[in-house]
């Protein structure tokens, strides 16, 4: 009786897990061992790790994802710090999160409007007598827009870890003679490290495969692993190679998770 009751609760969760988590991953791994003629082969992996194109693409993706993550931390951390000190902080954090409710494509088009040759930013430049800049379809604009998209996902875990810090730690630090800067570097940042790490986990991986933005804002000059996956599945129809890149992305995700998981029982001698 009790047993069947338990199974009843387990079933939807298990079904979900099998249908939408385990089987897609298994399928990706399975497809990655077939070439374009549906023959079993390891050549996809061979090609990936021996061709200069894929390796530079990987390096590029990692570099861009790293830069996007870095800039979103640099912007999010001070922002979270300021918001956590404000009187109506919950309202302010809501305003920061609000843009995530808007479709990604819409936001990308909005940026095209802002950054294009006749866009708002250039109009402002002209008003102040500055020359027109070509901002769209550059690396810088790609990183800017990607960081903008990722900031809410970075700020939220950092903000939560900040509001968890007891006020008395800050007081104790001040009381012992620490300046504001020393309190920040020695107390606040170490105590918000878990928040920063989960922020990195949430931001870094999707940044590896941002194909839509690299097309719309980066003007296809920035080719990431995400773009390559899209190309293989939709254009060249080489599902095997696309899956191989997918497997590489999954493995790199696992690596990032392992690197950023907080280890307890830290001990120093």
């Amino acid at each position: 009786m009790r047993r069947s009751f338990k199974t009843m609760f387990y079933t939807p969760y298990m079904l979900w897990l099998v249908l939408f988590v385990i089987s897609p991953v298994a399928l990706i791994v399975y497809y990655s061992f077939f070439n374009i003629h549906h023959q079993f082969t390891f050549s996809n992996y061979q090609e990936f790790f021996s061709s200069g194109t894929y390796l530079t693409m990987t390096a590029n993706s990692v570099l861009y994802a790293f830069l996007i993550t870095l800039f979103s931390i640099l912007i999010s951390y001070p922002m979270a710090l300021v918001i956590s000190k404000l009187k109506h902080r919950d309202l302010w954090i809501l305003l920061v999160i609000l843009p995530t409710w808007i479709n990604l494509l819409l936001k990308a088009y909005a940026f095209i409007g802002l950054l294009s040759h006749d866009g708002l930013v250039n109009n402002i430049f002209q008003f102040f007598g500055l020359p027109v800049q070509h901002m769209l379809f550059t690396d810088a604009s790609f990183i800017l827009v990607a960081a903008y998209i990722q900031i809410p996902f970075m700020i939220l875990p950092i903000y939560n870890s900040m509001t968890d810090i007891s006020e008395s730690y800050i007081k104790a630090s001040r009381d012992l003679g620490a300046t504001n800067w020393q309190t920040l570097t020695k107390i606040i940042i170490p105590l918000t490290m878990p928040g920063i790490k989960s922020g990195i986990q949430i931001v870094f991986i999707p940044s590896l495969s941002l194909f839509m933005l690299s097309r719309l804002i980066g003007g296809n000059k920035v080719i990431t692993l995400g773009t390559a996956v899209e190309e293989h599945f939709l254009t060249t129809m080489n599902w095997g190679m696309g899956s191989t890149i997918g497997v590489v992305l999954i493995i790199s995700m696992v690596i990032v998770m392992l690197l950023t998981t907080t280890k307890r029982n830290r001990r120093r001698s």
Binding site: D175, L176, G177, A178, T179, L191, M193, N265, R267
Partner: protein
């Protein structure tokens, strides 16, 4: 008379529609143990915070060593605090916590090591230097918090209800240790508590507070024996408070009898309150007693019996006795002239002290 280290002059603290501190004046001398005692919300922590620099006073002066420190930020004030929740940094081990005050002042590594070692030795935890904070018991965390607070060699240590999180046995042990530590270090302790027993046991001087005001200052014995008003008498220890009338100097009347007492300096026939501590009441036979009461209940408290009794006017009496009595028995109570303490209504501390001087030598 030793030297004044901290002085508060006419200090007020007001929030929008609430006055947390009303005209606080006191001086703390170097090397003594002071306690701010009062119920929660009486403003004692606000005083501590304004001395530590976490709260700005609305008006008045806070002086340290004769210099006004109102506008000096907390991190530049030469005094340290032990917090109620200890506030030990969870990202550091015991050694780094204790060393923090020296590290932020850029003291050399060798000196840090010897001073941290000394501080840990002082609180008898030198072998715990490399433990994590989460591995310590409450009592150990308490001691580390003290070691961390004294590492900068402050002249004054502020303690914000540091014993309230400990269990009863440990709290008693820590009372001895804190007192001992204060005497060995020779620095001023300003201790905040709502526990009158703690205050009486450790302090050189107690300031009793209620509703943002200091009601009475004095040594534990003075405050216990001569409380200024009903609130203090009730808050410090247990007491029997009976309304009476001062017939003349050294003569007080209550419950239809006239007694000889040790107080004077009041108007003839002035209405007063009489305080008699439960341990000063001696049980005797009804014939020999100055008062006759009927026992309602008695509780065995280990080292004494706590007896509740009622007199013929319906007043309740609390008696501490080493011997048991019988429920519903009528017993006699005796007490000497010095066992009574007479309180006038609405007497200020200054007037109270002036009156005492007129007849005490």
């Amino acid at each position: 008379m030793s030297k004044t280290i901290i002085e508060l002059k006419n200090v007020y603290k007001k929030y929008d529609d609430f006055t947390a501190l009303k005209n606080i004046n006191f001086t703390l001398n170097a090397g003594e143990f002071y306690t701010l005692l009062g119920p929660s919300g009486c403003g004692k922590t606000t005083i501590l915070q304004s001395i530590a620099g976490f709260t700005e006073v609305t008006s008045g002066q806070v002086l340290f060593d004769g210099k006004k420190i109102n506008d000096i930020p907390a991190n530049q004030r030469p005094l340290n605090t032990v917090f109620q929740d200890y506030a030990l940094f969870p990202n550091m081990n015991v050694y780094d916590n204790v060393a923090f005050g020296l590290v932020v002042h850029k003291v050399s590594k060798d000196e840090i090591e010897t001073r941290v070692h000394d501080a840990l030795k002082l609180v008898q935890l030198e072998q715990y230097a490399h433990r994590e904070i989460s591995e310590l018991s409450g009592g150990q965390q308490q001691r580390i918090a003290i070691a961390r607070a004294i590492i900068n060699r402050p002249k004054v240590l502020l303690l914000d209800e540091p014993l309230s999180a400990l269990d009863a046995k440990l709290r008693k042990d820590m009372q001895y240790e804190l007192r001992d530590l204060q005497q060995r270090l020779g620095i001023t302790f300003l201790f905040v508590t709502h526990d009158q027993e703690e205050a009486l046991a450790m302090s050189d001087h107690i300031f009793v507070m209620n509703k943002g005001e200091i009601l009475q200052k004095g040594s534990p014995v003075d405050i216990y024996d001569e409380p200024i008003n009903h609130f203090v008498a009730n808050f410090i220890g247990e007491s029997n408070i009976i309304p009476g009338k001062m017939v003349a100097d050294y003569q007080v009347a209550f419950l239809g009898h006239q007694f000889e007492c040790a107080d004077a300096g009041m108007r003839p026939n002035e209405p007063v309150e009489v305080v008699i501590r439960p341990e000063d009441l001696v049980i005797t036979t009804p014939e020999k007693g100055k008062l006759q009461v009927k026992v309602d209940t008695q509780l065995f408290r280990g080292d004494y019996y706590e007896i509740m009794a009622t007199d013929n006017q319906g007043d309740e009496w609390l008696i501490h006795s080493t011997n048991a009595t019988k429920d519903d028995a009528v017993i006699g109570l005796t007490f000497g002239p010095t066992d009574m303490h007479i309180m006038r209504y609405n007497e200020t501390e200054t007037k109270f002290n002036q009156r005492l001087e007129t007849y005490e030598d």
